[in-house]
Amino acid sequence: MSRRNAKEETQIKSRSQMASIWMRLKKNKMAMAGLFMLLAMILIAVFAGIIADYDTEAIQQNMPERMQTPSAKHWFGTDNFGRDVFARIIHGSRISLSMSIIAMAIAVAIGAVIGAIAGYYGGKTDNILMRFMDILLAIPPMLMSISIVAALGQSMVNLLIALAIAYIPVFARVIRSSILSIKDQEFIEAAKSCGSSNGRIIFKHIIPNAIGPIIVQATLAMGATILIIASLSFMGLGVKPPSPEWGTMLYEGRDFLKGAPYLVLFPGGAITLAVISLNLLGDGLRDALDPRLRN
């Protein structure tokens, strides 16, 4: 009896909303391509130490083997210090992915709280918080990051702070607008009428219903942050050499563009792949979460 119940339960559970979103996402080939690329990149980043040793291959200079073209030994060739470009790129993915994920997590967490408070309480609170967000939003994320890094000094932590601050207002806006559309629905009133506290209403009723647009926005913004990290490093404001950062590699390779184009081709390709995979996935998620396409 109990086994039958359990079976019934899983059958019913399997048709939950998450499952139906996954079904729709699976139908979208481009989104799945993006997802696989991203997963592959995450796996490579996680196992980068096994594929190529950080100290000996990605950092240590090896002058005898400098400026080699791609070969079986050095898949992507070597740079002007004899370092393996492939090893540097896979170790670079650690920096790009982890930094963009952490920056997004910080921005979503802080942005969600600010947006939720502004949207739920409304009135003056909303006005003050959102006008402050508007000030931040008026400066493009790129420019914002440059000025923050320039002001605080060049380091990974400062870059993280800069990216998080640049994206907080974006998430605050997204979350506030979805909360505004949810908070006047009757199920919120139902929760109020049985005595639920404001905190419970925000976390149990509003956030779960507002999470869709946040995930989409975070995925798309992650692609943009990878670009910003690379751009700042290219300008010498991001990750310091000799750390194997994609933007830094582009900067270093630019002097040899004519003779050894692979020095910029591969890091550039890595950036492109990362951004494209995130954008494809983000677009796919947006379609999958769109209530109008529900069947």
Partner: protein
């Protein structure tokens, strides 16, 4: 006569709008006894829903008193109000919007019990959910389904189960059947009447459907632009409507009777006046076919014209309108 479960005295709710004061609920008084139903009827925008929400203090009243079991709840602090909320619940009009789409049936029904700390263990909670689902006629297999997987009637049953979870004494039913099709309307109405009998519930039943209100109510209050214009026991109201507005409302009910063919219903003309800064005399004046200059001399007052039958039309006292 029993002591009423709910007594409302001169309840007012004004909203501030850029154009002026919007009189959503204006000087409404009534009492509901244990196990009785007061039907509130009126056209869209007459303040029925605001009245229901104000009684539950989901909207704070501008003035007036609400006595629940003899206690004035308008002055209660947040903590004390929470205890009262358990005893006063709400059933919503739209069963699609009133259930959180991310929560399963059992989570929805559990919530009021968790919030009010009514059960000590998870097992007790599950037991309660099962009981409530059985009570409202939901199959136990639906316990883990989500609202979007159910039809309107089942969703409304979930809404009713949620309202019953805290063992309330009084329930505001805000057009609970108007979003359902007719065959399901009857099921839900009968369920609500059965529950009323079993649990001795009192209902404030808000609707614009006169046949529904006739079926379920013991007493009916007719509202027009925030005011209660006529109040009487159901049979009395349908047999002897006195206020011109009630007369017009009742005459608009379609009759299945060939001999009545050709008889023109007493239809109203014109638009509803704006509830923003309304006139001080009878608000129905501009649409009333009996209106005369004397109407402008009387301000709103609900007077008893025969035992238990109240009307706000001054011509009902002078006998000008029978």
């Amino acid at each position: 006569m029993d002591k009423p479960v709910l007594e409302v005295n001169h309840l007012k709710k004004y909203f501030k709008t850029p154009a002026g004061q919007l009189h959503a609920v204006d000087d409404v008084s009534f009492a509901i006894e244990k196990g009785h139903t007061l039907g509130v009827v009126g056209e869209s925008g007459c303040g029925k829903t605001t009245l229901g929400r104000t009684i539950l203090r989901l909207i704070e009243p501008t003035s007036g008193e609400i006595y629940f079991n003899g206690e004035d709840i308008t002055k209660l602090k947040k903590d004390n109000m929470k205890a009262i909320r358990r005893k006063m619940q709400l059933i919503f009009q739209d069963p699609y919007a009133s259930l959180n789409p991310r929560m399963s049936v059992s989570e929805i029904i559990k919530e009021p019990m968790i919030v009010n700390k009514m059960c000590s263990s998870k097992k007790e909670l599950d037991e309660k959910v099962k009981e409530l689902m059985e009570l409202v006629g939901l199959a136990p297999r639906l316990v883990n389904t989500y609202p979007h997987e159910m039809d309107g009637g089942r969703r409304q049953r979930v809404g009713i189960a949620r309202a019953l979870a805290t063992n309330p004494e009084f329930i505001v039913c805000d057009e609970p059947v108007s979003a359902l099709d007719v065959s399901i309307q009857a099921q839900i109405l009968n369920l609500m009447m059965d529950l009323q009998e079993k649990k001795q519930l009192s209902y404030l039943f808000i609707t614009h459907d006169l046949s529904v209100v006739k079926h379920i109510s013991t007493e009916i209050a007719v509202m027009y632009l925030g005011q209660c214009v006529e109040k009487a026991p159901t049979e009395e109201l349908f047999a002897h409507p006195r206020h011109p507005y009630t007369k017009a409302l009742l005459s608009a009910i379609p009759v299945i009777d060939i001999s009545q063919r050709g008889k023109k219903p007493e239809l109203l003309t014109g638009e509803v006046n704006s509830p923003v800064n309304p006139v001080s005399y009878c608000r129905f004046y501009s649409r009333c076919k009996y209106a005369c200059d004397k109407c402008k001399e009387h301000s709103y007052e609900l007077k008893e014209i025969s035992p238990g039958h109240f009307s706000a039309c001054h011509m009902n006292f002078t006998g000008e309108i029978e």
